[in-house]
């Protein structure tokens, strides 16, 4: 997959049955499909360079480590979102599911449940909601937008039932998870949350590119009708992407609980939009069928870096984060549009 080559040609029509001498080149000519991700990468590097030259200590290990630590839950959520968007769907429920997951774990710890039970439970809540959404989308053919909107209200409402007020988490396992830091070099430390997030990315990458399920996800995004006629398990796959997104949101909630050490019903308001922004900035087409999970990770890092830069600037209000994200999102969407138009 990663070595699929597509020479840069103006999507030539007309018969081309001639053999390309096709000796396998080790480095393919730049594939157009990588362009959006490459664009994101360039933006990321630019931001690092600008930050590094403008502010002291910007490129320090601590700042970079914090970038990962503060955004590990968003990375996990964005990975789940990538699956859904690749099929051409959308999941608006993830922010609320993150909140529900933190609330439930906080509530269970408060009532003396052990981490062995609580941790899986808080993740499986997301799985369950994702499954319900998947069934709504597939069996009842409800628009993903509406199905996940319903799930969003449902989950957010349940948060208040479980935890009307913020509940602190004092469980030993969670405390340990949040305080552990493995220092690698020069203040650059990784946390268990970071490791979990990166593992999720790795598993997602392998799933998307090296399993039939993953390829079916792309096929559905490319043309759902065709995928069905090709005999691919469209139904199962569509339900499963929402299950994955829900599970990722559940896990994201757990990571957020570790990060904040409390459960609060107003957690993650608007996080679904951050996740969607990260996925789009990472080069995944909202129409589905094209994009990479690594792009979404880059997208999250870009969002995180914007925040970091605004913080370093000091004089700017944090609302500037939103303005920059908005502008960046616009630029990326227009860029993608141009790419798609040219491909036709």
């Amino acid at each position: 997959m990663a070595t699929d080559q597509m020479t840069v040609q103006a999507s030539g029509k007309g018969p081309q049955p001639t053999v390309k001498p096709a000796p396998r080149r080790s480095l393919p000519v730049l594939d157009r499909r990588y362009l959006p991700v490459l664009g994101t990468f360039v933006v990321l590097v630019l931001m690092l360079v600008i930050g590094g030259t403008r502010y002291e200590n910007f490129l320090s290990g601590r700042v970079m480590a914090n970038l990962f630590i503060n955004n590990s839950f968003l990375i996990v959520v964005a990975v789940g979102m990538t699956f859904v968007i690749l099929t051409g769907g959308i999941d608006l429920s993830v922010g609320a599911v993150v909140a529900l997951s933190t609330c439930i774990s906080a509530w269970m710890f408060l009532h003396g449940w052990d981490a062995i039970i609580t941790i899986p439970a808080s993740i499986l809540v997301g799985t369950l909601i994702g499954w319900i959404v998947g069934v709504m989308v597939h069996v009842f053919e409800i628009q993903p937008f509406i199905a996940t909107l319903a799930a969003m209200f449902l989950a957010r409402g349940l948060c208040y039932v479980v935890a009307p007020e913020s509940i602190p988490i004092t469980d030993a396992t969670i405390v340990k998870l949040s305080e552990t830091r493995w220092e690698i070099v020069d203040n650059f430390a990784v946390t268990p949350s970071g490791v979990i997030a990166l593992s999720v990315v790795l598993v997602a990458f392998v799933t998307l590119h090296y399993t039939r399920f993953g390829r079916t996800v792309y096929a559905i995004g490319g043309n759902e009708q065709s995928a069905r006629l090709m005999g691919l398990p469209v139904a199962r796959t569509k339900v499963l992407v929402y299950v994955i997104s829900g599970t990722c949101a559940g896990l994201g909630g757990l990571l957020f609980a570790v990060f904040a050490r409390s459960g609060y019903s107003l957690t993650g308001v608007g996080m679904e939009l951050d996740a969607i922004a990260a996925v789009v900035i990472g080069g995944t087409l909202l129409t589905g069928g094209s994009g990479f999970v690594l792009g979404s990770v880059l997208g999250v890092l870009v969002l995180g870096l914007i925040q970091t830069i605004i913080t370093f600037e000091g004089t700017l209000s944090s609302w500037w984060t939103k303005i920059v994200i908005g502008a960046l999102l616009l630029v990326f969407v227009i860029l993608q549009r141009l790419l798609v138009v040219r491909r036709r």
């Binding site: 997959m1 070595t3 699929d4 080559q5 597509m6 020479t7 040609q9 999507s11 030539g12 029509k13 007309g14 018969p15 081309q16 049955p17 001639t18 053999v19 390309k20 096709a22 392998v206 590119h209 090296y210 399993t211 039939r212 390829r215 079916t216 792309y218 096929a219 995004g221 490319g222 043309n223 009708q225 065709s226 995928a227 069905r228 006629l229 090709m230 005999g231 691919l232 398990p233 069928g289 094209s290 491909r343």
Partner: protein
């Protein structure tokens, strides 16, 4: 090929399928032998597509049995049908063009090692399947970088991956040129010789006779019969498809005594030097009451562009248009409509029929547009109009509440025609009214046009089929390179050759 006395690989008995308002198939039997190319024939709406979709598991059947390879099957979907060895290549190639050729061939059957896809082996296998069909393309290339013909062969390669014993080709040649068709047929013969049973659907009779061994004819959702291709002449075949001995067609053929047109009066529509930059050069054209004016020319010669100026879809930037002698400015289609000029579009799917509405609603639309949106058409009047035109045009099924999208192409065209006829136009512009529909419906539509003209309606008739234009028109305007190059009065001496010469020479010899 040799007669196969082997047992059929597919045996369908008593298949019935009903859609809301439409009995699509009624007790149809069908059998397919291994190692044969079997053509499925019938008019639009005869039930060919429905039968195929029943066999491939896209539609469930209401009654009947499907036996594939000796096992009775109830297919829950295309995946189940493929697992039983029934693969389909559809007219609009159903692959995903965001993925590579190799993936499109192998999707769902990728070679795995230790639970993950082994891309190297998968691509190698894909190359093998492609080469088995003499298709030498790079499996890594993107599907969208290949022509439709190649994509179709890729789709066939895919069918071979699932070890298809039955391959269904639904209108595979409709967008291929002659060389590409020849190439496809080579592949089809190769597969047939390997024992694959091939079900072939096409509108082109020549191709049916070139490739098929046997054929099954359907009409109105029922079985007409099963024949050996070599034992059935073309005339007989067409007769069986439309259910009568081509009388309509021949009747039309001989009715060269077209109603006489009075060319001395005032033309209903007169275009003087009308043109539009980049669209069509200024032209003169008179259309008299009761006259059929044919527009001949190649695709892209400006036929449709000319028509759009006549009824106001585009506004002219030069010249003058007169309706019944009065100068008018047609700024939009509504202006045309108010002068009783209507236009029936060539792309009935996107610009004409509204598939989600019923036949009745589609027909009443034109009438409603003429009245303005605030004054509802009284339902009694609507019923009367709808009934009249369904009968007059022979829309099948004759059910005003059938969903228009469920009708066959020819019948959709009739509904579209009914919509405009209901507004009682004085000038009817028909852009490719018979494209993609079968002989029977074609003949009916031609007959209707001739009748309408004899009742005093002016008609502009646009068609890519020259003999159709010649058969109907009183006068023919020839277009080439977005310019009107000639105009001739139709007579016995005007043959397709004359018109073709005009198109080729650009009118210099006329």
């Amino acid at each position: 090929m040799t007669e196969q006395s082997t047992t059929p690989i597919v045996e369908m008995t008593g298949i019935s399928i009903t859609f809301p308002g439409v009995k699509a198939l009624d007790g149809v039997d069908f059998r397919l032998l291994p190692g044969e190319v079997h053509a499925l024939m019938g008019e639009n709406g005869a039930g060919k597509s429905t039968l195929i979709k029943a066999l491939t598991g896209v539609y469930g059947i209401d009654s009947g049995r499907i036996v594939v390879g000796g096992v009775e099957q109830v297919f829950s979907g295309p995946a189940a049908a493929q697992a039983a060895g029934v693969s389909t290549v559809y007219q609009e190639v159903n692959l995903t063009d965001n993925l590579s050729v190799a993936e499109n061939v192998m999707l769902g059957h990728e070679i795995r090692r230790f639970g993950v896809i082994d891309w190297h082996a998968t691509r190698k296998a894909a190359r093998g399947y492609l080469q088995a069909l003499n298709l030498d393309i790079d499996p890594r290339s993107s599907l969208s970088s290949h022509s439709l013909a190649v994509q179709q062969l890729v789709a066939i390669s895919r069918a071979m991956v699932v070890d298809a014993r039955v391959l269904i080709l639904d209108e595979p040649t409709s967008s291929l040129d002659a060389d590409e068709v020849a190439r496809l047929f080579d592949v089809v013969r190769t597969l047939r010789d390997r024992g694959v049973a091939i079900l072939f659907v096409s509108h082109f009779l020549d191709q049916i006779y070139a490739i098929s061994d046997r054929l099954t004819v359907l009409r109105n959702g029922t079985l007409v019969g099963e024949y050996r291709t070599e034992e059935l002449s073309r005339v007989e075949l067409v007769g069986k498809m439309i259910g009568r001995e081509l009388e309509v067609l021949s009747e039309l053929e001989t009715s060269s005594e077209r109603a006489v047109v009075d060319w001395t009066g005032t033309p209903y529509l007169q275009a003087i030097g009308v043109g539009r930059k980049g669209s069509i050069e200024p032209f003169d054209l008179d259309i008299f009451p009761g006259e059929i004016v044919g527009l001949a020319g190649l695709l892209g010669s400006g036929r449709t562009e000319l028509a759009r100026l006549l009824y106001g879809a585009d506004h002219a930037d030069s010249g003058e248009t007169r309706v019944a002698g009065e100068p008018v400015r047609l700024r939009n289609p509504r202006a045309g409509l108010s002068r009783s000029i209507v236009f029936s579009s060539e792309s009935r799917k996107t610009e004409g029929i509204i598939g989600d509405l019923t036949v009745r609603e589609n027909i009443v639309l034109g009438l409603q547009a003429e009245r303005g949106w605030l004054r509802r058409v009284p339902s009694r009047k609507a019923d009367e109009v709808v009934d009249r035109y369904i009968k007059a045009l022979g829309v099948r099924p004759a059910n005003p509440d059938a969903i228009a999208g469920n009708l066959s192409g020819g019948n959709q065209q009739k509904v579209l025609l009914a919509r405009w006829l209901a507004t009682a136009p004085k000038l009817l512009i028909l852009d490719e009214p018979t494209r993609g529909i079968d002989v029977g419906a074609k003949a009916e539509i031609q007959k209707l046009v001739a009748e309408l003209a004899s009742q005093g309606m002016s008609v502009v008739f646009i068609s890519a089929e020259l003999d159709e234009v010649l058969r109907l028109s009183h006068r023919i305007a020839v277009l080439r390179d977005r310019r009107k190059v000639a105009e001739l009065v139709n007579s016995q001496d005007v043959t397709t050759d004359v018109v073709v010469d005009l198109i080729a020479s650009g009118g210099t010899s006329a």
